[in-house]
């Protein structure tokens, strides 16, 4: 298992490094989450969510990951890739290790509706391996400025390997409806319902729901209370020797399969607190209580599990160095009434600046190319707000340069956009 842990960390490095280079054009964030605690069932672990009531022990965990995102026009894309390592503080227990990834693409259809698709995978090792993968298209509806509803159609696949019994795998489809409401600046209320589309077994359909609220005691401190209910209906098969049974088509067999349908109910109550020490350090405290009830004859008795943990998360936004073709123009006041206008541009065209400050005289003030593909000019301007455009002249052709999305811009009244320059 240690080899598996090392392998996953190597995979993490190999994947994140190219992502980092990729991230030169994207927003990226490196996050290191660690915590320690005690749990009587790893089902209460957000990363693992694996039913293991026998693993009742203190533990610590570390999960490094990289988050990369990009927003372009009406589209947004994000990727998370990470590793996970969780040893138990008990000498005769193995460690959990593994890796995970998630990608999300969404498109804004209009101010109210978004549509997107999310997918992910994870693979964790203990004394056996578990692999999960899922893909879920979704629609998001901004009902109003303080209400949101989302409908997800989830397709999940899960398999187990290296169990003492045969390797098993399952496929599930479900619909999920989430709803969030911000009644005020201090409160957030959320609720959700899930329902499986497949017959999960024995004719029972699984469903679950949750209700939670978050309250900001201070701007850097919040608590969250969340209650949930889960019902699983699933079937098991059993081989019983009940004597030969004959069938016209299939013939006779000695062993018959007997289908047993079960129903498990799980009740949860969670209380989380989060404190933002500064932009990089976040502290978390979490407690959870879970009650499991089942109707199986030979199953273990109903059980209550608890978990407690506290941890710290460190995150940084690395500066990979800009490689974008066009960056947001910047200004720098060098002395009174003198402003240095700069824009990073990669290309062979000549650039000219025109706007209110030169009565929109074309082609405009030439931007002189300097080191690091930085084009610049000095403007003598009084304090105020100015509108501008940059003209790109290449060969005999000229056209307005499309500015980066993050540039402060304003509608020009003629159907286009102008850059907005504020001198103060």
């Amino acid at each position: 298992m240690r080899m598996a842990s090392v392998s996953w960390f190597i995979v993490f490095i190999l994947i994140t490094l190219p992502l980092g280079v990729f991230a030169q054009q994207w927003h990226s964030q490196i996050v290191l989450e660690s915590k320690t605690g005690y749990a009587t069932n790893s089902y209460l672990n957000d990363y693992l969510s694996e039913w293991e009531p026998s693993l009742s022990a203190p533990y610590w965990m570390v999960a490094p990951r990289i988050h990369v995102s990009r927003y372009f026009g009406q589209n947004a894309f994000s990727v998370d890739i990470g590793g996970y390592f969780q040893p138990y503080l008990k000498s005769d227990y193995s460690s959990w290790s593994g890796g995970f990834g998630r990608a999300d693409f969404n498109r804004r259809l209009n101010r109210i509706f978004y549509t997107g698709i999310q997918g992910g995978f994870n693979r964790y090792y203990y004394s056996y391996s578990r692999t999960q993968a899922w893909v879920e298209p979704y629609v998001r509806w901004n009902i109003s400025d303080d209400m949101e509803a989302r409908l997800h159609w989830n397709n999940s696949y899960r398999s187990y390997g290296e169990l003492q019994t045969d390797t098993s795998s399952n496929h599930y489809q479900r619909l999920a409806l989430h709803y969030q409401w911000w009644p005020s600046f201090k409160w957030k209320i959320e609720t959700g319902f899930y329902g499986n589309l497949d017959q999960v077994g024995g004719g029972e359909k699984a469903l679950s729901g949750y209700f939670g609220t978050t309250y900001w005691i201070r701007n850097d401190l919040n608590v969250q209370v969340r209650g949930g209910f889960e019902r699983y209906g699933f079937k098991t098969t059993s081989k019983r020797s009940v004597g030969p049974r004959c069938d016209v088509l299939m013939g006779c067999s000695v062993n018959n399969r007997v289908f047993i349908s079960n129903q498990d109910d799980i009740y949860r109550l969670e209380l989380d607190g989060q404190y933002l020490l500064n932009p990089r350090w976040t502290f978390n405290v979490s407690t959870a209580l879970m009650r499991w009830e089942n109707n199986r004859r030979r199953a273990p008795k109903d059980a209550t599990d608890v978990a407690f943990s506290f941890g710290v998360t460190y995150s940084i936004v690395p500066d990979w160095g800009g490689r974008e073709e066009i960056q947001v123009p910047t200004i720098e006041k060098t002395k009174k009434q003198t402003t240095l206008f700069k824009i990073k541009y990669r290309g062979d065209a000549k650039l000219y600046l025109t706007g209110d400050f030169n009565n929109w005289n074309r082609p405009g003030i030439p931007l002189i190319k300097g080191p690091n593909e930085l084009y610049r000019t000095t403007l003598k301007l009084n304090d105020g707000v100015y509108e501008y455009k940059i003209m790109k002249v290449e060969g005999g052709d000229s056209e307005w340069l499309k500015l980066d999305d993050a540039t402060a811009m304003v509608k020009d009244g003629f159907g286009g956009m102008n850059g907005r320059l504020v001198i103060e």
């Binding site: 964030q29 693992l48 039913w51 026998s54 988050h67 998630r102 901004n142 679950s208 976040t282």
Partner: protein, 324 residues
């Protein structure tokens, strides 16, 4: 009809081959085109019935009202180069002159005319834009002038920021821009009243206040929750946002909404929390642009999947109990 005339006519038609339908149609088309062109020229002449003297009078009126003579001359020259008639030039200059005569910033209209010409916009599309701008400037005066008389503006702004007149012009210009969307004059007046009652005087800065008004229609919360926009902007003024930072705010909030996939009010909540958490304005803007609504470098939540019935207790699997 006698034989001679028939013969002569036949020869004539044969000589010119007029019986060819295609040529006949071509002639009809040419005659039609010429007639249309003549009509257009006459119409154009009627439209440019404004004489050079009359144009000169409008130019003089504009300069007398305080507009830059050099700018007006430049506009006339550029207009002529683009083929604008005297009438069309008058339609560009006269609204600016009228505004300046009313002690309103007419130079904005001149700049818009320059911009239209530089972008190759046809004159008949520049004129309505200019007239709309003129109307908005006049409406802005009706909001700003009454506001200037309230709450002792001279005492609150003058000592730090120079002339009261500068404040008025800044506010009129900002309000005129704010009214370019769906925002009403009542809505701007409501914001100004809210600001008067809630702003911390220590941080009052005329350029920041003008910038706040200017971006009001561009905020993602303004349409449905104007009260939230009011609170956000006053918080930002109190936090010492500069005019430049205000101008980056609408775009940053929109990017935050797109990147975080949160509703507008949640983004506004996050923005306010970051301000109250003491995070610097430029850092807040960067956070928002990256979709980091909650503040700082707070990492996005990472849960493998939402809890749900895809993970049954799996009690039927024989795991080894966790022991090595």
């Amino acid at each position: 009809m006698d034989a001679w005339s028939l013969n002569e006519k036949g020869a004539f038609m044969k000589y010119f081959n007029i019986q060819d339908t295609r040529i006949a149609l071509l002639i009809v088309f040419l005659i039609g085109s010429i007639s249309f062109s003549v009509h257009q020229v006459q119409a154009s002449e009627r439209a440019s019935s404004v004489s050079l003297d009359e144009l000169e009078k409008v130019v003089q009126r504009a300069t007398k009202a305080g507009l830059s003579a050099q700018q007006i001359e430049d506009l006339v020259q550029r207009g002529r180069n683009k083929g604008l008639s005297n009438q069309q030039l008058v339609q560009l200059i006269l609204p600016a002159a009228e505004l300046s005569e009313q002690d309103l910033p007419g130079h904005i209209v001149i700049q818009k005319a320059f911009e239209g010409l530089a972008k190759g916009v046809p004159p008949n599309r520049i004129e309505p834009v200019i007239l709309d701008l003129k109307t908005r400037i006049q409406k802005a005066r009706d909001v700003v002038d009454p506001w200037m008389k309230k709450k002792d503006k001279e005492k609150r702004f003058l000592t730090k920021n120079g002339e009261l007149r500068t404040l008025r012009n800044l506010m009129i210009e900002a309000t005129a821009h704010a009214l370019s969307g769906t925002l009403s004059t009542e809505r701007v007046a409501d914001f100004l009243n809210h600001m008067d009652n809630n702003v911390n005087e220590e941080f009052l800065n005329s350029r920041s206040v003008a910038a706040a008004v200017r971006i009001l229609p561009d905020l993602i919360t303004t349409k449905e929750h104007p009260d939230i926009s009011n609170k956000m902007l006053v918080n930002a003024i109190n936090a010492g946002f500069t005019a430049s930072e205000f101008h980056q705010l609408p775009n940053a909030m929109e990017m935050a909404q797109n990147n975080s996939r949160l509703p507008a009010k949640a983004v506004a909540n996050g923005f306010t929390r970051q301000i109250k958490n003491g995070i610097a304005a430029n850092q807040i803007l960067q956070n928002l642009q990256k979709g980091n609504v909650e503040g700082g470098d707070l990492p996005p939540k990472m849960k493998q999947q939402p809890k749900g019935p895809d993970k049954p207790p799996a009690a039927d699997k024989k795991k080894n109990g966790g022991k090595k």
